[in-house]
Symmetry: C2
Subunit: 210 residues, 2 copies
């Protein structure tokens, strides 16, 4: 299937609506209106609403694995530094694509679409495998003192902490003094705090001493 600019435009609007109202809470008419195309164009371009979200996942998840593979395979970076880069990359990616990650979280909860489940499983497991490699490397070099490390729990702690922060931004604004902050400025603050916090979680979980 060939993805044109029109596809991309519709997908982007659909993504916004899915993040805002959920998949079931978004109608094909909503998408058509938001994308400023005729209702029938959704079927014409994507076949169905279900195919549309599947194509959205295919589009968004392409090339995700490559970036962290480059880090893991780089010999000149020390294991813990690799993990720090992975953490920062993840935070950056979530904050740059908040809508998609919300859609992803919703899909992870509902587990209705087989195609999407496969995408996400593949994504998560390859991610975990790469991190596992780095942890093994760190252990071989004697950088990490803990020897009963649950990689997936550590990964889940990272994704859970970051995702939950994005999802509950409003509480954050209300509880702290950040009422006056602009959306982007709040994001900058949160990214910095998350980076420090998650790296700390890695540090203590792995038993890393600089």
């Amino acid at each position: 299937m060939i993805i044109t600019d029109k596809h991309i435009h519709i997908l982007q609007k659909a993504e916004e609506l899915f993040a805002q109202n959920g998949y079931e809470g978004t109608t094909v008419r909503d998408i058509a209106t938001a994308a400023d195309v005729n209702l029938a164009m959704i079927s014409y371009y994507f076949g169905s609403k279900e195919k549309l979200i599947e194509i959205l996942f295919k589009e968004r998840m392409e090339g995700t694995k490559l970036r962290i593979e480059a880090v893991v395979n780089n010999q000149s970076i020390l294991p813990f530094q690799k993990l720090e880069i992975i953490v920062d990359q993840y935070i950056e990616r979530v904050f740059n694509s908040q809508n998609f990650f919300k859609v992803m979280l919703a899909q992870q909860m509902l587990q209705k679409n087989e195609v999407i489940i496969r995408f996400m499983t593949q994504y998560k497991l390859s991610y975990a495998t790469l991190i596992e490699e780095v942890i093994q490397e760190g252990r071989r070099l004697g950088h990490f003192s803990k020897d009963d490390i649950d990689t997936l729990l550590l990964l889940t702690s990272m994704t859970g902490t970051v995702m939950h922060t994005v999802v509950s931004k409003d509480y954050y604004r209300e509880f702290n003094k950040h009422n006056k902050l602009e959306e982007q400025d709040l994001d900058t603050v949160l990214k910095q705090k998350l980076s420090r916090h998650v790296k700390n979680i890695f540090k203590v979980t792995l038993g890393y001493e600089q």
Copy 2:
């Protein structure tokens, strides 16, 4: 409004379906069928589908705050021990009410219903306030060395880690060797791991030395 056994039964089935298929993905007919009552009974008992989920939240969130208040106000427990109890209580509560917490997470993402938003905000903020008190107490006693503690980030890290673990249990099963484990046994393993992990996060974030 008086809640009868019939109400409770219907709410329980609705909760299951909302967790499984989302609020929009669950029809009133689905609920009626699952609860084995006539379709019209849902309107008769709750007024509407929206009122039903609001009443579900009201029911489930009652008395949540009380339990941790009892811990916080207990003078014979040391600050960090209080936090440990709070962590274990939270984990226990999520695992005992997985369906409701999934519904809650979905509602937190979508933020559509004003009544529910108020419930959740009140819940989260009172939770954060109580934890803040314990942290202040620990700082006064010189138990915690860190002085720039972001309570809400710490709380979000706990809820995010625990919730994400519940939501992505399937990945966990697949990645680790737990394929053979029964649902309940897996939960026991995860609860233990989470308890240790989250307490560690608290420890390192607060700068607690025993």
